[in-house]
């Protein structure tokens, strides 16, 4: 178990340990390495190559006396599951007061790398890429996606309630009742949320006059487990 104030680096790993190890070398005072890997289980060659790369990184970390978590992804092509998994891990590290010095997104499958990048944008984690040929580290100047700045307090409240009740078919009137606000007020906020692409309206199956309010699945990725 890590102590507080310890420094961790995160990374994605594919076939090439050289895409991750430069970041371990170039980051000062690293105590722990967390990396995500996985291969198509039907592809024996890919499975073997990823296993070799994983072993190389584990050996390197042990030789350097670094704590290491090798996280095996069930499906390295499932973008959404990977994004949620990585974000949960990062939030846990942050809650425990650990510093995430950098996230190397160079290795792994395309969905793994993109999911890691998305998480870095949402969580404001410094991100690096390692050049395919030169193995030079490229620091990505990302802007953190601060949803607090682009969604009002009322809009966030509505989204959280919709996420909690996503299995229910909720109309505008029911939503207004749940929030304890006037229907016209909720309607105003919903229009803004629709314009921002965070929710959509669907026709009610039994009553064509009613609309069901649906939260877009991307909102789950946007808000994370803050609800």
């Amino acid at each position: 178990m890590l102590e507080s104030n310890m420094v961790a680096i995160f990374g994605t790993l594919g076939y090439r340990p050289k895409s991750l190890i430069p970041t371990i070398r170039s980051t000062p005072d690293v105590d722990k390495v967390v990396f995500y890997c996985g291969a198509d289980k039907k592809d024996a060659e890919a499975v073997a190559k990823v296993a070799d790369a994983k072993k190389a990184v584990l050996d390197y970390c042990r030789t350097m006396k670094l704590a290491v978590d090798a996280v095996e992804l069930d499906d390295p092509f499932d973008f959404k599951s990977i994004a949620i998994k990585i974000r949960t891990d990062i939030k846990r590290h942050k809650r425990e007061g650990k510093e995430i010095a950098v996230f190397n997104i160079a290795g792994g499958t395309r969905p793994t790398s993109s999911a890691a990048l998305l998480t870095c944008i949402l969580e404001g984690v410094p991100t690096v890429y390692v050049h395919d040929v030169t193995y030079e580290e490229i620091r990505l100047p990302l802007l953190r996606m601060e949803y607090n700045q682009v969604l009002s307090k009322e809009e966030r409240e509505i989204l959280k309630i919709l996420l909690k009740n996503r299995s229910k078919e909720m109309t505008e009137v029911e939503l207004a009742r749940l929030i304890g606000k006037h229907k016209a007020t909720v309607n105003h906020h919903l229009r803004n949320l629709i314009a921002k692409g965070a929710v959509r309206l669907e026709n009610h199956k039994k009553d064509s006059r009613k609309k069901i309010v649906r939260v877009e699945e991307s909102t789950e990725l946007l808000l994370g487990d803050d609800e």
């Binding site: 092509f77 499932d78 973008f79 959404k80 994004a83 997104i105 160079a106 395309r110 969905p111 790398s113 993109s114 990048l117 998305l118 944008i121 949402l122 890429y129 395919d132 490229i138 620091r139 990505l140 100047p141 990302l142 802007l143 996606m145 601060e146 949803y147 700045q149 682009v150 969604l151 314009a195 921002k196 692409g197 965070a198 877009e216 699945e217 991307s218 909102t219 990725l221 946007l222």
Partner: protein, 216 residues
């Protein structure tokens, strides 16, 4: 007009077909490396689109330098975000699942930079949490944007910035500077007892996102 843009590379026709099936569109734009139009995957998509009497727009980008690639994709997206004949805003959606890892990741950054609706289509579709229309401009106050616009990668003396800024007091400008430093957007140094300021790399990225070319 509804525009579907997608990153694309050899062997990615199924990913684009997934996106075409799930997302309504009137024009298809494929973004990929130079030579994309010669690939067999592209020909399959082009022939398929031909059945509806439509062409496919091809946007070739250079894929060596990551941040340059982000800039190129941003320019492509801005170009297709408006209808050139009417000037009206297009409903543009970007799929980032095609092409190389570098291309997909650069497209993801461009989507967040510009507030372009984006998704990842590969067997299943995952919408990305981009707030439509929310760009870098929304994250900063007008004073912070003005401060950033006065800077480049080279150091400028704070006193000169105060003059150019036209603020009522030096303290007001210093407050803006402190806020931007907290966001790691500025670097400062003291030369001959005077404070000089320049944009950090992250600051340069913000400056680019705000539509200003950096000097460095």
């Amino acid at each position: 007009m509804k525009v579907l843009a997608s990153t694309f590379g050899e062997g990615d026709h199924n990913k684009v077909l997934d996106a075409m099936r799930r997302l309504p569109y009137e024009r298809l734009v494929l973004i990929g490396e130079r030579g994309l139009a010669d690939s067999s995957s592209f020909r399959r998509i082009r022939d398929f689109e031909g059945l509806s009497g439509h062409d496919v727009d091809v946007e070739a980008v250079e894929t060596d330098d990551f941040m340059e690639l982000v800039n190129e994709i941003s320019a492509v997206l801005q170009k297709h975000a408006r209808n050139p004949s009417t000037g009206e805003r297009n409903a543009l959606v970007l799929n980032i699942s095609g092409g190389s890892k570098l291309l997909g990741d650069a497209a993801l950054i461009a989507a967040f930079r510009l507030g372009i609706e984006a998704c990842h289509c590969d067997h299943q579709m995952t919408k990305l949490p981009v707030i439509r229309g929310a760009t870098a401009l929304d994250r900063f106050t007008p004073a912070q944007i003005r401060f950033i616009s006065l800077l480049g990668g080279d150091f400028i003396q704070l006193d000169d910035i105060v003059v150019q800024f036209g603020a009522p007091s030096k303290q007001a400008v210093e407050r803006v500077m402190r806020d931007l430093r907290k966001l790691d957007l500025l670097k400062t140094e003291v030369r001959n007892g005077r404070v000089s300021v320049a944009l950090s790399r992250a600051g340069e990225e913000v400056s680019r996102a705000l539509g200003k070319n950096c000097s460095s």
